[in-house]
Symmetry: C2
Subunit: 210 residues, 2 copies
DNA sequence: CATCATATGACATGATTATGTGATTGGCTA
DNA sequence: TAGCCAATCACATAATCATGTCATATGATG
């Protein structure tokens, strides 16, 4: 038997879902509240549910803020977002905060039920559009990390030295060249990257912009 | 009508899936080959399918290498992995390479069919266990970036200035304080972080170690 | 209330960095 | 082969940074 809680401020939707879920043999849904604050209050006093359905737009604290707090206090509760928002930011913020599923509100009641079961079994139900955005996040993340260095191998060496926090002297020692040569390389690096301090080179490098 | 191609070296599985899919009203599956190399050959000569089902372990080129090549040549083909592997590396490599779906091989034929339809509609079908790993990737990524700063808010401001590549003077201007105050803060920052150069602070910060 | 942490500021000095100018060598290529 | 570029080194100087020492003011905390 899976126990389910709901945080959703639209009374109609809330009681519709609650009644449907509670009528299932495999689950029980006795708690359906307006806000994260009320849910936190409830969790303190009574048994905690296995799964929480959570809206994002709520009176008071947002659902996303709520995830973090609830997950911190009760890490065993699985949280599934159920919301109209499908913009990447809300999706990622939710997942990062600790949500394990993300459904859009047009999801049918039977699908919600199945998703809750999937969640309880250790899966991560997502509406297909959501999954697509999550996946795109990967391809994009990797695609834009090829900004054509222009730097020679030696110059890259020097950059690595800088990133390691070395002084000119230590870089010279590391590569067994004179400090003036290091200067010369760094001059050229600055020209190529259009910067004029170690700091900027290090920042660019660590941001993957080299 | 969705046209589907299959790259899978196990003849039994391959022809089973092919026959099942081809018998559906909504799809056609005429091409089922052993290897990426053969598929590339085929794509050059004949019409390209809408969707490709792809194994990872294959004779010759691996399925993951194949994704990249196929996606580069024919970006419109949607690729769905169908494999026994559920380790994070293979999953992420596949997604990064450009796969839009990832099913495990125990998936039932009707589910495979539905997943292909979802894919054709712009969704991203994944087995629930896979989705879970993908989501965990997010929570983990963010979780390990809490190394207890110890830095005060003001010190963080200064660090941000450094990361932006500013000189002491410019940091002083940005926060409307004297350059000697900036020095004082930086002294304290160095003490707390056990470093002694801008470079190391920037590196630490960008590595998420602050 | 006394103390401590934080934020602010000043003055000083040696170290390092940024930048200019110029030179030599070895490889590659038009 | 002439010319270009990468890599090496030198000398010079102004700017910036790292660090020491000291001081004042404020708010929090015991």
């Amino acid at each position: 038997m899976i126990t389910v809680g709901i945080v959703e401020d639209n009374v109609k939707i809330r009681s519709l879902i609650q009644r449907y879920l509670d009528m299932q043999d495999s689950m029980s849904c006795k708690v359906a509240l307006d806000s994260v604050e009320e849910m936190l209050d409830h969790l303190k006093k009574y048994d905690k549910p296995d799964v929480l359905l959570m809206d994002i737009q709520l009176p008071g604290m947002s659902g996303i803020e709520g995830i973090g707090i609830i997950k911190k206090e009760y890490p065993d509760i699985e949280i599934m977002m159920l919301t109209v928002y499908h913009d990447s930011h809300k999706i990622f913020d939710s997942l990062v905060a600790g949500a394990s599923g993300y459904l859009l509100k047009h999801t049918s009641l039977p699908e919600i039920k199945e998703s809750i079961e999937t969640l309880a079994e250790g899966g991560a139900p997502m509406s297909p559009q959501i999954a697509r955005k999550v996946i795109q996040h990967f391809s994009n993340a990797e695609k834009k990390k090829k900004p054509e260095s222009n730097l020679t191998a030696r110059e890259q060496d020097i950059v690595n030295g800088l990133v390691d926090g070395l002084s000119y002297k230590l870089i010279a020692d590391r590569f067994d060249i004179s400090i003036d040569t290091v200067r010369a390389h760094i001059r050229n690096i600055y020209k190529k990257l259009h910067v004029n301090s170690k700091a900027e080179v290090i920042a660019k490098s660590l941001r993957g912009e080299i």
